[in-house]
Symmetry: C2
């Protein structure tokens, strides 16, 4: 009665060479976005208010357009989900997830913590992830089984030392706005900041880069679309960290919204317990 | 019955040339700190826990030591107040205020938002202020009557447009930790994040640089020593913004702790009203 191990992860069916190929392809697409965004920065740009009162600049639009053009040309069998345009071939085995400028308000206000997020997903599993920060000159990337890397150096996350005082633990947290934008979940924000008062709020994926490379012990995102976390899980897991989804809800007209925590394993456990305790106080 | 205008500001008694001289002197001292800190960064550094559980590195100590040596040599008539050593000639007319690395935890964790703060005060009034961010490659400076400048460009703050929705206003806020460190003032934190949910928490003087140059509409510091805000008031006021002290308390063994808000005038008024309303609910 000895069963062979069951492989359910479709990523393991790809050879290391194939995965390296997709990582290279993703890095080339990153360079396409970088060139567009840097060109817009050098030329100056317009800021308009979108209907949801967030900001969008010509850099967002132009970078995602260039990204999609290159995907169509180089990888026509793959799909694309992105912030600025509708889904293209979303049922393909391989689907790119792109947020050309995560943190448009920071970009527009010349605060360099914004980033370009590129993910490649294979049937629901994250194969490649890139978080690029052109204004900071730093880039994080990872691919399944190939490790996480930041600027040419391998990234590995040590677990939280259990002796560390709670006030020294460094959490990346959304602002209160994320907890009241769709419905009043300010109790959850209250619980999070009470148990982890030593938090940073960058409002961009720079918090993900920090959580994957140890600058923050963990980080939380609340009610965000897939493209905001399209590169995060594979980067965190390849660094030896833990990525946990606390909740996923469907919102009509918007789609799936994810609430997640990621970083050093013990810290992620603690924070996830706090969030679940506040969400489901009876459970 | 026509009285001559009474000048009570001792800074106006200095000629523009004298003020320019002190600004140049301050920028030279900034370069001294920069060289030390960059040297430590290149060589690697130790991180120790201080008694108050904040972090201190050799870079803090060495930069402040070098700063004081240069002050003693070049400007022996001036005093120095700093984070790492005791006061020197604190009753001098001109007193330097130095925080060699504001944001030591960020520095130690390779998050580039830390800064070197240098202020020069003339009998209680801020004459010169510098906030330098070597890891970001940006520097803010100002001197009384000479304007505020960032990287060679004059900085001027437009007031908040009154039509701007509250959720778009960008506030720099301390983390909850600052409101519970000495006594439980979490009600104040709650009020601040309720009225201004769209906040950033950088935990360093980078929020001051952003508030003085328009990247944030205003920023708050809560219960901080003088050297954390030693350069801020003159930078904000020279940019056309408003700097308001909401409270000053003496804490035995620590000294004066300041709670302040600064940035675009209308935003500062709003935030100060929120903070005072939470502090003195009966008033």
């Amino acid at each position: 009665v000895c069963a062979a191990p069951v492989t359910t992860d479709p990523r393991d069916a790809l050879s290391l060479q194939e995965r390296e190929g997709w990582l290279r392809a993703a890095l080339e697409l990153r360079d396409v976005c970088r060139d567009v965004v840097r060109g817009v920065m050098a030329a100056g740009f317009e800021v308009d208010a979108k209907s949801d009162a967030s900001l969008v600049t010509t850099a967002d639009i132009e970078a995602e357009r260039a990204f999609r053009l290159q995907v169509d040309e180089r990888h026509p069998e793959t799909g694309v989900l992105g912030e600025e345009f509708g889904p293209a071939r979303p049922d393909a085995d391989l689907v790119w997830v792109i947020d050309p400028i995560d943190g448009t308000a920071e970009f527009a206000n010349h605060i360099p913590l914004w980033g370009t997020i590129i993910g490649l997903w294979l049937r629901g599993q994250p194969l490649v992830g890139i978080i690029d920060h052109p204004a900071l000159g730093t880039c994080l990337h990872a691919a399944h089984g190939l490790g996480a890397w930041r600027d040419g150096e391998r990234v590995t996350l040590a677990d939280l030392e259990s002796a560390a005082p709670a006030t020294l633990r460094r959490l990346g947290a959304p602002s209160r706005f994320a907890f009241v934008k769709f419905s009043d979940e300010s109790d959850v924000y209250g619980a999070l900041t009470r148990t982890h008062p030593n938090c940073r709020t960058f409002h961009t994926c720079y918090a993900h880069t920090c959580a994957a490379s140890g600058g923050l012990d963990a980080s939380v995102e609340w009610n965000v679309p897939l493209w905001d976390i399209g590169a995060t899980r594979v980067c965190i897991e390849e660094a030896g960290g833990r990525f946990e989804q606390v909740r996923e809800v469907e919102r009509s007209g918007i789609g799936a919204l994810h609430s997640v925590v990621f970083g050093r394993p013990r810290m992620v456990e603690e924070v996830a317990a706090t969030l679940r305790g506040a969400l489901y106080p009876g459970a």
